[in-house]
């Protein structure tokens, strides 16, 4: 803006100069007008040749001089002091010639009167040829007065020569008067030319003064115009700059914020815009960022809550499924159990009777068959007792114990299986575990099931890694990994279901993981599986340091 002010100030200065210069222009214009008036009076004077018009002319010349005096400085400025002196001189010369002409006119008048009077006087004195010649002379006199040229005087002189014989002093004076008039005419003519010359000079000066002033003003106006143009351009440029800056400081940040809000609307909270400064937009940006941040937190916790809900729902569905399966299994076990008991007793009675009987053919064969029945009954008993016992109603006996010790005991218990299969057990037990308060026997049952499964899963010389660690204040983590074939992905959802087994028929009941899951659930723990076919399987068991009451499992 200040940039735009500078040329404007210059323009203002130029304009005020123009205003100041307008006065000399006016005067210069007056000068021309006065001079035109001088020339008009001059014409009148030359035409009328009287004192009146002379006075008028003089008056105009005086005014001209006065005007010139008024703008002396300006004129000097325009045309230089030398020309100014020349102008003054021209006016003086002009005035002088006017005076000479005035004198000339007086003398002409006198000479003309004398000529006319002498002519009238001489005429009666002559007669005959002289008179006729004289009348010719008078005619030439008239021609001289009219034409005022050299021919006229020449003819007059020729005619006068032929009158030389007439001896008359009056005639001589008459001729002298004609000669004088002619001289006066001649002088007038030369004065006239001279006067015109000076007049032309003065007019040229006056016009040049006016022209100069006009040009100056023109220049000033042009300069002002340019300055104004520069101002305009500067203002425009300033405007553009201000607009740009405004755009930068207002529009652009708002656009940035707008884009950010659009991104936020699609759930993208990344790169919140940072708008520096202390203006409203910066405050708006801060507020928006705070809002977005809070929104992001809210969205995040909502997503987390939804995910937790999904997980919980999945877990609930899973737990409900397992519970239903457990109930069905227990019901089936119960219904099977009574007929099984009958078979057991009948077979037992048969055995008793056979043993009391004397030998008879095939007695040994019969006893062998009964043993076979007992074996099957025992298998069934194992299944039904485990189902009825673990799935529904085994008491929880809480006692303090060392988790690592329980694992050691379990591994020792399985030593025969481990040794016969040349399995390597890597124990990586943390020394920083709190004492556990839970059901040790049932917990050992879980470890037994899982380690037994791992031993069964690995090939000869396989490796089983067992590690314990502290998760937090409330839980310890037991990890049991094997490098067996792993569990096919499609089987993983079913491994905790009862009677689900991948072992050969008769080798597994399909209850180990089901029971382990049920025990852990009852004891407030959790079991998870990670398996990669071809690489092995890992069971992760979360065990609460203090048993958490499981409402569902309570009697």
């Amino acid at each position: 803006m200040i940039l735009a002010l500078i040329p404007s100030l210059f323009a203002y200065r130029e304009m005020s100069t123009v205003r100041k210069r307008l006065k000399p222009v006016e005067i210069a214009s007056d000068l021309t007008n006065v001079f035109i008036e001088v020339r008009r009076q001059e014409k009148n004077f030359l035409l009328l040749k009287d004192q009146d018009s002379l006075q008028q002319l003089r008056k105009q010349i005086g005014m001209l001089k006065g005007n010139i005096d008024d703008i002396e400085a300006d004129i000097i400025g325009e045309i230089g002091s030398e020309n100014y002196t020349a102008l003054r001189q021209a006016i003086i010369e002009y005035e002088r010639i006017v005076q000479q002409l005035a004198d000339n006119f007086v003398l002409q008048h006198a000479s003309l009167n004398e000529l006319t009077r002498l002519g009238r006087d001489i005429e009666p004195q002559l007669s005959g040829d002289d008179l006729r010649t004289f009348l010719v002379l008078r005619r030439d006199e008239k021609n001289l007065i009219i034409y005022r040229d050299a021919n006229a005087i020449e003819r007059f002189r020729n005619v006068f020569t032929s009158l030389r014989s007439v001896n008359s002093p009056e005639l001589t004076r008459y001729a002298a008067a004609a000669e004088k008039l002619y001289l006066l005419y001649y002088a007038e003519k030369s004065h006239d030319a001279e006067m015109r010359k000076y007049a032309a000079d003065i007019q040229a000066f006056a016009e040049s003064v006016l022209q100069g002033e006009r040009e100056d003003i023109d220049n000033l106006l042009t300069t002002s115009m340019y300055l104004l143009l520069v101002s305009l351009i500067t203002i425009l440029a300033t405007g553009i700059i201000i607009n740009t800056r405004l755009a930068r400081s207002i529009v652009r940040p708002i656009r940035v914020l707008e884009k950010f809000t659009q991104r936020v609307a699609t759930g993208d909270f990344s790169d919140p815009p940072v708008i520096e400064g202390s203006n409203e937009i910066a405050a708006l940006s801060t507020a928006l960022n705070q809002m977005a941040s809070r929104l992001k937190d809210t969205v995040h916790s909502l997503e987390l809550a939804i995910r937790n809900l999904h997980d919980k729902q999945g877990q609930l569905v899973e737990a409900e499924k397992l519970a239903s399966l457990g109930r069905i299994a227990a019901g089936v076990a119960h219904e099977i159990n009574n007929p099984l008991a009958i078979i057991n007793e009948k077979a037992g009675l048969m055995q008793d009777i056979l043993q009391l009987s004397e030998d008879f053919p095939h007695k040994a064969k019969f006893l062998e068959q009964i043993d076979g029945i007992f074996n099957s009954i025992n298998r069934c008993r194992t299944i039904t007792h485990r189902l009825l016992g673990f799935a529904r109603r085994v008491e929880v006996t809480i006692e303090p114990f060392e988790l690592n010790e329980a694992i050691h005991e379990t591994v020792t218990f399985l030593q025969n299986d481990i040794a016969s299969k040349l399995v390597r057990i890597d124990l990586n037990l943390s020394g920083d575990l709190p004492e556990i308060r839970s059901d040790k026997i049932q917990m050992e049952q879980v470890f037994l099931n899982l380690i037994k499964n791992a031993v069964d899963a690995v090939a000869e010389g396989g490796i089983i890694s067992i590690s314990t660690s502290r998760s937090d204040d409330r839980f310890v983590l037991v990890s049991i990994s094997d490098n067996g074939p792993g569990i096919p992905e499609e089987m993983i959802p079913h491994i905790f279901e009862p009677f689900f087994t991948t072992k050969e028929r008769g080798k597994g009941t399909g209850l180990g993981l089901f029971v382990s899951h049920a025990i852990l659930k009852k004891l407030g723990g959790k079991i998870q599986v990670q398996s990669e076919p071809g690489r092995g399987t890992t069971f992760l068991i979360d065990i609460p340091v203090r048993i958490l009451p499981d409402k569902e499992a309570s009697p």
């Binding site: 008991a341 009948k346 037992g348």
Partner: protein, 126 residues
Amino acid sequence: MSQARILIVDDEKEFAAALAERLCLRGYDATAMFSPEDAPALAKEIQPDVILLDLKLPGVSGIEMLMTMREFVPGVEIILLTGHMDLAQRIQGMRLDAFDYIMKPIQIADLIEKIEKAGRIRDRKE
């Protein structure tokens, strides 16, 4: 105490009969009773040393039956038989001074051991 009188109360006739026979073969005086309604009267009549009582009898709660038996046969030792041992019932049974429990299908050796033990305790009481 090889002549201990044993009363088996179980509505599962085949089971009870076979078991009674087996016990008899082992020298016990075992009687099987299949009807819960008649069981108390029979128990009163024969005054068994040990009663094998199924807790799941039709129409009558095992616990009620246990209390009736105690009333009718003072000093009798009762071994609870069950294929479906509810924790609550087991606890209640033990509170009511049942001697022990055994789960079906029975391992005959276990049962004999419990019966012998119960008989010894009963002898001591007398």
